[in-house]
Amino acid sequence: MKTEHKEHIVKPPVYIAVAVALYILTLITVWAAGIDLGKILNTIIALSIASFKASLVALFFMHLKYESKLLWFMILIPLILLLILLALPILDVITRAGYFGM
């Protein structure tokens, strides 16, 4: 696996900045969970923050920001499939008549 060409090297300050951002976002998530905005909104907020954190990890720690468009496109596919895997069973369950008891 020899390097064929000059690969873009990300410098430590960038990594440290990302880590700090992640710490802060984690604090925000915990703080936001303490505020009652209703189930749905709380869930959306928590997942949105988590997704933002995940994007930071992917873009910077995993170098995605500096990788080829091909890889970006490739990643889209499992993400879309994941969405479908999550969405359709939920849709099924919530549209069943009198879906089973809480």
Binding site: T29, A33, A50, V57, A58, L82, L85
Partner: protein, 214 residues
């Protein structure tokens, strides 16, 4: 009638190379996304059905420990990224240091989980087959029982991945100590790093879904 081919003498022989190895690892990570995806789908369905029960059950989890473990994993991702940078810039001493730190942080995550979190649940009987778990079922609080089943399956599978990651990184550290890596050759470090970040990524979702339910 043969296809017309020109046989040049120095046609470049193709190899997978670093880019190929990275692509291969990304493809493998996609499979991990979908593996956990199935579990997340189960979680999503049951959280939807048993929203109240999940909220009640989640109070049994220790939010502080979850928070600390989140910080630990984030830091381990930082040290992992820094170890890749060290290899890329030929800083062999730092490479060893950051790899070691990543391993220690990963181990700390596991120790905290296995010594401070799970045993509490076992003692409380809140695990599949446990006393309190069965009690919940008998009382009709099936959603709460499911919460704990999901908790152990998801954090268990994730923990297994952390363990595998730690073992892989130990192997990488061994190789690094034997001077295998340099700015000319660091593929295995980078590729292992990708795996490690995924483990962090999954936890980033697990933490709010289990510890911060409203």
């Amino acid at each position: 009638m043969e296809q017309v081919l020109e046989k040049h003498h120095d046609v470049e022989e193709k190899h997978a190379g670093l880019e190929g190895a990275k692509m291969g690892m990304w493809l493998f990570l996609f499979t991990e996304l979908l593996l956990f995806g199935g579990l997340f789908a189960a979680y999503a369905v049951f959280h939807t059905i048993y929203a109240k029960d999940f909220e009640i059950a989640h109070h049994h989890l220790n939010r502080t420990i979850g928070f600390i473990n989140t910080l630990i994993l984030i830091t381990s991702s930082l040290t992992m990224a820094l170890s890749v940078w060290s290899a890329q810039t030929n800083r062999k001493g730092l490479l060893n240091l950051f790899l070691l730190l990543t391993i220690l942080l990963g181990t700390a995550f596991l120790v905290i989980k296995l010594a401070f979190e799970w045993p509490v649940k076992f003692a409380e009987g809140l695990y599949p087959g446990g006393k309190e778990f069965n009690h919940l079922l008998q009382e009709g609080h099936r959603g709460q029982a499911l919460f704990f089943s999901l908790y152990f399956m998801l954090t268990g599978l994730h923990g297994l991945h952390v363990l595998v990651g730690v073992l892989v990184l130990l192997g990488i550290l061994f190789m690094a100590l034997r001077n295998t890596f340099s700015s000319e050759y660091y593929g295995p470090v980078e590729v292992s790093g990708l795996y490690w970040h995924l483990v962090d990524l999954i936890w980033i979702y697990l933490f709010p879904l289990f510890y911060l339910i409203k």
